[in-house]
Symmetry: C2
Subunit: 359 residues, 2 copies
């Protein structure tokens, strides 16, 4: 097992990464202060891992809430089901919430923990590659609003994150690839060494070699942790983590949640960012081809498989929360492995990229 | 105008208290950093003060959301109306929310500000006596759940609070008395000098003498500010502010919101706490009579005007959030002006008090 410490002062917490971690109760119990534990999971994950996790918590009052599975349920109404479960079981402010599932479960459980009685403890057990390398690190929690993605939420840190890569055994190939999109993102945005590692080992990773996976998850979490430690509230550098996300969110918002997985939309979004970086004379066409090649080898989409008009796409981008007083900030690439925040790109080049990808 | 500085490190903010403050734009504008301002108010307050506040903000993009008035609307669904208004007007994370109204508006607007895009700025303009001395100080925000009061929320501090006591001119007598219950609470829980001031000046205060009111509001805010500065997240001393509240919330939860105003329920709750303090041999019967006399002179209720069974009352108390792992903590009085947190009172004496007040 490897342990990564996220350094956030009083809010610091460890991330445990390894195999067979869901048989080790002390990883959880040392971070639980009260007697009441609520496990929040969904209908897909519950049959796979809920009993296993409950076995670790025999000394606690344990309750569970099993939510429907899917991004379309990442809403205030679903979070309210968590509040209802907590109140029906009379859980008080000393309780601990455990998120057992992917990013949607983690985001909603974190927001519920931030808001229940104005804040209770929580722990993350992410079971998808995407949530292991992304949403379990950094304390972003929240839900979607019908008018925009992740528009409601809180910055709220867990007490610990337990990443058992064995849970990836039950993840289907499409979800695994979607997670790999975020792994590739860390290489592209700030770590040339890691990008080379991924280019070298992409076949081994896609055949789910455990040692390679642990290394890739660890490196992704470390890269994100370093950025988050510098900029917890996303005032500056943390925005680099949005590489591909402003484009990707526009795809998700326009096509509707469900057509693309989040990581798939981000894959297309990263390629759009790379293309704009090329048009702005930062990247060569060969470098854009390298990005595309790596995404394709991870079985990720490189185009929008659905009809979106360029004007709808622009409208969706401008409601994204990375907009400051009306200017759309984008994350572009100076080099492969070196992203930067840009708001002085040429509008016509952005339009050219959008027109190329929209049909 | 008097200015009280709430000392919370980076989250410090000023509270301005005086007359004719809603004609002074700089009180607001010096605390607004972006260009977009959303005023959140309700159908009662909007016709009285909305235009006046908008006049102060001529240099900004100003939008408004006018919510229905009443504690029964203090829900996630109503907060969602604020999110919808923010998204429909494309307000970004540099925007500022202004709460213009009583405690319900302040609590919901604060929670909306804490949660919109994971946190935007907000400013409080409390227009009721209750919200001026209570909910505008200390950063508690949130909404009710059908299973319990204030169960969902966040600790989130405003950038400033503007208390214009002239807004009390439009407050009806019942609401004014309800606010006075919280004023009296500060005297009872920790300030003998202020309690004497209130006993001496209660008639002048009830006839709404402005100078007396400013002094009472200032002293209440200062007392609360001192306690909050010591204990922002309610780990210890801040719980003293709940004097009368565990009883009061049980009354509100059992009778249903609407029968009693919050301050009225707290009035009865404080008298119940005083009676239990007498049974536990802390207060004399004369001291309890003094408490009752002051509440009566403020035209506040001293008994439960409605049918509640003792067992329903107990059940409602035990779901209150001041419960830690199952023990009901109460705030009792060692002396008038000296409250303490108690969980080793005799159950039978608590039952005696509850039976005395429940019919």
């Amino acid at each position: 097992m490897r342990t990564l410490k996220l350094d956030l002062g009083e809010k610091s917490y460890p991330i445990y990464i390894g195999q067979d971690l869901l048989s080790q109760p002390e990883l959880l119990t040392q971070h639980i202060s009260g007697k009441q534990v609520m496990i929040v999971t969904n209908t897909t994950v519950a049959p796979l891992y809920l009993d296993q996790v409950k076995l670790l918590l025999s000394e606690y009052t344990v309750a569970e809430v099993v939510l429907p599975d899917g991004e379309q349920y990442k809403t205030l109404d679903t979070v309210n089901l968590i509040f209802s479960a907590l109140l029906e079981t009379r859980f008080d402010r000393s309780c601990t919430l455990i998120a057992l599932g992917g990013g949607v479960i983690g985001d909603m459980t974190g927001f519920a923990a931030a808001s229940y009685q104005r804040g209770v403890n929580f722990i993350q057990i992410p079971t998808t590659l995407l949530s292991q390398v992304d949403s379990s690190v950094g304390g972003k929690t929240g839900v979607n609003h019908v008018l925009g993605k992740n528009m409601i939420g809180a910055f709220y840190q867990p007490k610990c994150v337990v990443i058992d890569v064995d849970t990836l055994d039950t993840l289907d190939n499409r979800q695994y690839s979607a997670g790999m999109a975020e792994v590739i993102k860390y290489g592209l945005l700030g770590n040339t060494h890691f990008l080379n590692y991924l280019q070298t080992n992409i076949h081994g990773l896609m055949s789910r070699d455990k040692a390679l996976t642990i290394e890739a998850v660890y490196q992704s979490c470390e890269d994100k942790a370093n950025i988050v430690a510098e900029d917890e509230l996303e005032a500056g550098k943390r925005a680099l983590l949005n590489l591909g996300h402003t484009f990707g969110h526009a795809i998700e918002n326009t096509l509707g949640y469900g057509m693309y997985l989040h990581g798939e939309a981000i894959s297309v979004g990263m390629l759009m960012a790379a293309k704009l970086s090329q048009l702005e004379d930062y990247l060569s066409s060969d470098q854009v081809a390298q990005v595309q090649d790596l995404l394709e080898k991870a079985n990720l989409p490189i185009s929008i498989a659905g009809k979106i008009s360029a004007s709808d796409f622009m409208a969706a981008m401008s409601v994204d929360k990375k907009v400051i007083d009306g200017n759309i900030r984008l994350v572009l690439l100076k080099e492969l492995g070196d992203a930067f925040i840009c708001d002085d790109y040429q509008d016509q080049l952005l339009n050219q990229v959008i027109n190329e990808f929209c049909q």
